[in-house]
Symmetry: C2
Subunit: 154 residues, 2 copies
């Protein structure tokens, strides 16, 4: 059966991985600009998740490049299941982190100006927004791979 566009080893998948790498790395950078983020568990959590998503997406982007440019990799059930499971778990972790940081930042901004003054708050919110976009691309990858699974299963 022909590869589902967007699933493992296709050029569409490479585009998704490229986007994920950019967004997760940018989210991490925005978060780490300021060293105060260590004070809050929520911010540490998002930084940790993005630090896992970035290498994961780079690794799969390289695999997709190899599959597109050198030799089309066959879609095995085991490989596809691992890639799907990884994408799925990371997508939920990213969504959870993005929502937690957005909520905490909104609370800090409304509480009082001392903890989170203007630019700092915006920085955290941009980091949450980038993590949200990263979630969306991870979810797309997960769904494309999940759509291919039943045909390999039966």
């Amino acid at each position: 059966m022909e590869h589902v566009p967007g699933s493992f080893g296709t050029s569409a998948s490479f585009a998704l991985r490229f986007g994920q790498t950019i967004f997760s790395a940018a989210s991490l950078i925005f978060m780490c600009f300021d060293f105060d983020f260590y004070d809050f568990t929520t911010f540490c959590y998002l930084a940790m998740v993005m630090a896992i998503v970035t290498p994961w997406s780079i690794l799969l982007a390289l695999t997709d490049t190899y599959s597109v440019l050198v030799k089309l990799l066959p879609q095995e059930l085991r490989v596809l299941s691992i890639v799907f499971a990884g994408d799925f778990v990371l997508s939920f972790l990213s969504l959870g982190g993005a929502c937690a940081v957005a909520s905490a930042t909104e609370l800090l901004a409304s509480a009082d100006g001392k903890i989170c003054d203007g630019s700092l708050c915006i920085q955290y919110q941009v980091s949450a927004a980038l993590a949200f976009l990263c979630w969306f691309l991870l979810l797309a990858s997960a769904l494309f791979n999940f759509w291919s699974l039943p045909s390999l299963y039966y």
Copy 2:
């Protein structure tokens, strides 16, 4: 093709719907015990999501009951897609709400005792935990239905 256990119209699906109804209603009740929750956007957001999940789960639980006890409903592509899409979107909204409330409550508790004293904080955290469980069951329903989609599609 025989219904995938857990997908629309099966007894396993009814069990999932029953659990979703209990958790979302309980999360809503714990959240609304205290009228202060209106002060924070995050808490209003979770209450709103749970207020949508509860009737959604009740409606589908009734449909599953009819399908199991009276007449087995056929799984059509359109119906299954709508149920899957609803479950999927609501599962993400629930996860986002649960993480946002958990993060905000943790922040309020660590900020100072005035806003969120002992029992109030616990109440919000219990509400977030119940929403988290509700997310898990919604996700399970979504995945079981998604697994049935390709066979109806091709």
